[in-house]
Each structure stands twice: as structure tokens, then as C-alpha cells.
């Protein structure tokens, strides 16, 4: 069966998200684009195994993620390149009062272990549900939840943000409802 024009259009549409996910995983532009390229080739070859009506984006993310880890195994962890390590060693300080800039955040994100980084990206940025993320990462929903939570705590530590969401929706409503809630 030939690859349909619709499938091709869907692949094209998915490229920006795939690149963003690949960048988040590899932290390296060239490697990210190689990953996306591999993913597109594999998706094209395996298009018959994609079940219509299911989530194409999740299917593509799964392929990309598998490709990332298999490349990483082949290369033996040189994926974390020297640039990445340099950035990771830099101290991160919020630049203005509580307002961190994107560079600080990026540096903090790089310090997370891959499994935590991918989990928090999938849930907090790519818009997947915990169930979908668990499927993409081939693990239990509970595992994703704990990775996300560890990632969040770690980011808060690195960026010196107090545990804002730990105690309630936000500072204002906890002031309003604060003492009455027992």
C-alpha cells in the first residue's frame, strides 16, 4: 500500500514538534535534526503499522525516542557533549527578582537526567497525558508521575524557586483561603 498524501501531510505537520522533542532530548541541534530525519524515514517505512485513528504524534514521538536511546547506546554516552557539560556546570541564578530568563531555564533543564527531562517535557510542554507519556516511554504511568515530580523538584532547586505548587494553586488564593483550610 502506498503512503497516502494525507500521511505525508501529517508527517510534515509533525516536524516542528518532533524537532522540539529531539532538541529537548539531545540538547544538540545537529543531532536533533538527524533524529528527526531517522524518525521520518522509519515512520515512512512502517506507515502500515500505524493504526489510523490513533495518535500519530505519540507514535512518532515513540519512534524518535527509541532512535535517541539506541543511538546513545551505540555512541556510549558521548551524547552529553562538552558544550552541554560546560553549561551544566555553570551556576544558575535567576536574573531578576524571581523572573528567570530562558537561558537559565535551559541550563537547568540540561542538568536533569534524560528520563526526568523527557517526562517533564512530554507532560508539561508537548501536551501529552500521563497515559500517553507512559506509552511513549514504555513504562508505567506511576513511573512517569514520579519522574515528573522529581524533575520539577530538581528544577525548583536549581532555579531556587520555592515549592510554589506544593501547597496550593497560587500564592494569592492560599492567602485568601489559607487559615480556614485545615
Amino acid at each position: 500500500m502506498a503512503v497516502s498524501a494525507e500521511f505525508k501531510a501529517d508527517l510534515l505537520r509533525a516536524i516542528p514538534s518532533l524537532r522540539a522533542f529531539a532538541m529537548s532530548l539531545s540538547q544538540n541541534g545537529d543531532k536533533a535534526d538527524d533524529l528527526v530525519q531517522e524518525t521520518l524515514v522509519k515512520a515512512w517505512d512502517k506507515h502500515q503499522s500505524f493504526q489510523l485513528g490513533t495518535n500519530l504524534k505519540a507514535w512518532l514521538f515513540t519512534i524518535l525516542r527509541n532512535e535517541f536511546y539506541s543511538q546513545m547506546r551505540k555512541r556510549g554516552r558521548e551524547v552529553q557533549d562538552s558544550d552541554g557539560l560546560m553549561t551544566a556546570r555553570m551556576a544558575v541564578h535567576p536574573s531578576q527578582h524571581g523572573q528567570l530568563d530562558l537561558k537559565d531555564f535551559r541550563a537547568a533543564l540540561e542538568q536533569l537526567p534524560e528520563d526526568q527531562r523527557e517526562a517533564i517535557i512530554l507532560i508539561g510542554a508537548s501536551g501529552f497525558s500521563y497515559e500517553e507519556a507512559a506509552e511513549i516511554c514504555d513504562c508505567a504511568v506511576g513511573t512517569i508521575k514520579s519522574r515528573v515530580s522529581r524533575a520539577r523538584t530538581r528544577l525548583q532547586d536549581i532555579l531556587q524557586i520555592s515549592g510554589e505548587a506544593e501547597f496550593g494553586p497560587d500564592a494569592i488564593s492560599s492567602q485568601v483561603m489559607g487559615s480556614s483550610a485545615a
Binding site: M1, A2, V3, K8, L11, L12, I15, P16, S17, R19, A20, M23, S24, D33, V36, Q37, L40, V41, W44, Q48, G98, L100, L102, F105, R106, L109, I120, I121, I123, G124, A125, S126, V148, S149, R152, L155, Q156, L159, I161, E164, A165, E166, P169, D170, S173
Partner: protein, 64 residues
């Protein structure tokens, strides 16, 4: 007030308030900003040409 149309003030998350990565948390906001920045990156032409190549190379492959 600057009009920035950020995720924070336009989209109302389904679980507003209880979502630990929601738009009312610093981490949640930064995460989305980081990702949106990547998503809006310009796409190199190599991907469109790759798909065109794949289409030409295997128009009717694998009929089992």
C-alpha cells in the same frame, strides 16, 4: 500591560490551579516557553525534500 498573548493568560488549563506544571507555576510557564521557542524554530528544507525523496523512491512498495 504589554500584550504578549502568552500561554499564561490566553489558555485556561483544564485543571487550572491544581496542575503542578500549569500556567500559574513558574516551572510550567518556563517549560512551555522553552518548548514553544523550539517549536517555532524555522524548519530546514531538508525535511520536505526528504519526504519528497521517500515518495519518489517507494511509490508502491511492499504489497504483501
Amino acid at each position: 500591560m504589554t500584550k504578549k498573548a502568552s500561554v499564561a493568560d490566553t489558555a485556561t488549563p483544564k485543571r487550572a490551579g491544581t496542575d503542578p506544571l500549569g500556567a500559574n507555576t513558574e516551572i510550567g510557564r518556563k517549560l512551555k516557553q522553552y518548548y514553544d521557542d523550539l517549536v517555532s524554530d524555522e524548519i530546514p528544507d531538508r525535511f520536505a525534500s526528504l519526504l519528497a525523496q521517500l515518495e519518489d523512491a517507494r511509490p508502491q512498495s511492499k504489497k504483501d
